[in-house]
Subunit: 391 residues, 2 copies
């Protein structure tokens, strides 16, 4: 029992005041989260598509149950550990949205043996051949989507290129029907305006629908057309031909999303509770016990219109304090300074003062924590929800 | 039991081949680690100082037992969770090297009640007053070191300023003897040459010894003079007046340390095992299943002479493959490309190929994993060592 000496049941009890929480701690504002979920849900209802939320951001059964009260799926995962965890909580319809590698097939089989309908993705004949070999060897059935490149940012095959049909031919010949196509328009994160996001959403839709049409014309059933990213899901004007949407970070939002006008700063549902531990008045610095381990090394806002450093510093009601940001971070030390860099502009926060720091990227920040400390509308701790990380 | 559905005993067995490991996985080359430990140990023996290794990098009882076969300390920690864990494994002499905050005093008391001699640090009268209040309230004794600013990079009081003696007077009057002084010359990480590191080591030594001398002249016993950082510990030419050295990252090293000539690339003991999952030949990209969640968002080498992207790509024997680096990273996707950016220069690595990726920053990368997969000299898996993260 290697971890016998690590406390695993150290979650604070409901009713604990923030002042009693040891810091750093990850706070989750339940009302903001619920509002974010409702926004996405109503948007997708209006567009007439199914929702397959990406749980990589939250990695928590409690958050995911708010997303999907039914509790069996559909969900999207980024790791097979996520699939394990949610399968253990009764979820059976799971899309693993990273191209499958041969050393994960034993794990896939173990999930199938637990009655999980696990959909896999791939974007090459090379991988299709590995799956076909495995099908031949084991007799197992696989549900496979072909990944489409809708914006050139990462993986996938071109919707109008020859590889798409080659892969489908190879799969169908091996007895693996093409279940569908999927894409992730990651470039939407770099869209400078809401108009650009709308255009990207249409590009994402059109590419994926085109790929599905070509596959159907070539004889595949291809019932699923899956798209997704938080920006395109929220700003798409139409999703004709799309059957489902995947998105994850919207549940919490973050400064990066606020920086491209996908949300407002006061929609951000997660923050890091930190405590002032010292000062450097000559530099205008306030030191807190939340460094990059607590915030993550993500500096995504550095390339945006407003660089938020390692995060925006707020009071306990989550209102930004003047222009304070985390200007620097070591492993367990954060340095609060004024955005202007002028030492005189920073207010004095006494040692022991607690602040809440909004993160650049919710997925990266949340990954460092074992719990969400869930706050009710009055700021009291409602619950402590476990989450996990790793593979 | 919130985590009942999360597999926690999924560590591979000794003798497993790398090809059978699910990826990403964190590999630890035992021989390199042992060599790194011997290098530090012999250096500190030659300098005639005690060693108080920083365990924040490894967060593993198995690694720490290699550092300190005695198994009771002294160690340095960056979180009280580290103190809990190592106390549970018998370590009793622990320095918590982040200025103490009032909301951690109940935790400190709980550690003291487990017979841990926990040393605390502070750098202000404000914090000294909080400790004095707690001493008055609870009657508890505290072992306290004053943090010294030896290089202006973060926290601490000036070794020659008035605050040092004010803090000491306040503590001693409250019945809290000053146990010592400590500093961390974090600026050594930015030293462009080994000569600059040597100069920084002397600056670190001189500042701390000066502070101790002033405290002793003012009547404090101040038996401990504690300095530390991997670069200064390895390149200090003398440590007269210093009683102990703290360092942590040397046990693994990383590309950042190699970038300032503190180690060679083939001293780096941790690497991330990843699997090829696809290609974009038009861009010269090879996609792997290790993104920034597996490597961390640390881009510390971006400001060095050689920017290593998100890591240096090696073969299974950990030899760098030509000039391949991780040129980009999404959450679970890494993009391998040639350093030159020219698509034609990258060799084809078939789907399923495993590579080992050396990290920019060992502390940040290791934090994402629940185990070290320990490799023997023949590349076979010797053991799986658990590690932890969080607070």
């Amino acid at each position: 029992m290697p971890h016998d000496n690590l406390p695993i049941d150290d979650a604070p009890q409901a009713g604990t005041a923030l002042a009693q929480l040891e810091t750093p701690a990850l706070l989750l504002d339940e009302a903001r989260m619920q509002r974010n979920i409702e926004r996405m849900r109503s948007r997708l209802q209006a567009l007439g598509v199914a929702f397959r939320p990406h749980v990589k951001t939250n990695k928590s059964i409690d958050v995911t149950r708010r997303l999907l009260p039914g509790g069996t799926g559909p969900i999207t995962v980024s790791t097979l550990l996520e699939a394990d965890y949610f399968a253990g909580h009764g979820f059976t319809d799971i899309l693993y949205a990273v191209c499958i590698a041969p050393n994960k097939l034993a794990h896939v089989a173990a999930l199938q043996d637990r009655s999980v309908r696990l959909s896999l993705i791939l974007d090459s004949v090379e991988t299709a051949r590995l799956l076909a070999d495995e099908r031949q060897r084991s007799g197992r059935a696989f549900e496979v989507l072909i990944e489409i490149d809708s914006d050139g940012h990462r993986s996938g095959v071109k919707p109008d290129g020859p590889e798409l049909l080659e892969i489908a031919r190879f799969l169908e010949a091996a007895g693996i029907p093409v279940k569908g196509v999927m894409t992730h328009a990651g470039s939407s994160y770099d869209s400078p305006t809401v108009e650009a996001i709308r255009a990207m959403a249409e590009q994402e839709r059109a590419a994926t629908v085109l790929a599905a049409q070509r596959l159907r014309a070539a004889g595949s059933a291809c019932p699923v057309v899956s798209v997704g990213s938080t920006p395109t899901a929220l700003f798409a004007e139409r999703l004709d031909g799309v059957t489902e949407v995947r998105a994850g970070v919207f549940v919490f939002f973050d400064l990066f999303m606020a920086g491209i006008d996908v949300c407002r700063v006061d929609d951000i549902a997660v923050s890091v509770l930190a405590t002032v531990i010292g000062h450097r008045p000559d530099k205008g610095w306030t030191l807190v016990d939340a460094g990059w381990m607590a915030m993550s090394r993500d500096r995504g806002t550095a390339g945006q219109r407003v660089d938020q450093g390692y995060g925006v510093v707020c009071d306990l009601q989550c209102r930004p304090i003047e222009d304070l940001i985390l200007v620097g971070a070591n492993q367990e030390h954060g340095i609060i300074g004024h955005r202007s860099g002028r030492p005189d502009n920073a207010p004095h926060l006494p040692v022991g003062t607690q602040v809440r720091i909004l993160p650049n990227h919710a997925c990266a920040t949340a990954a460092a924590y074992r719990h969400y400390q869930v706050l009710g509308p009055d700021g009291a701790l409602l619950a402590s929800w476990p989450r996990f990380s790793g593979w």
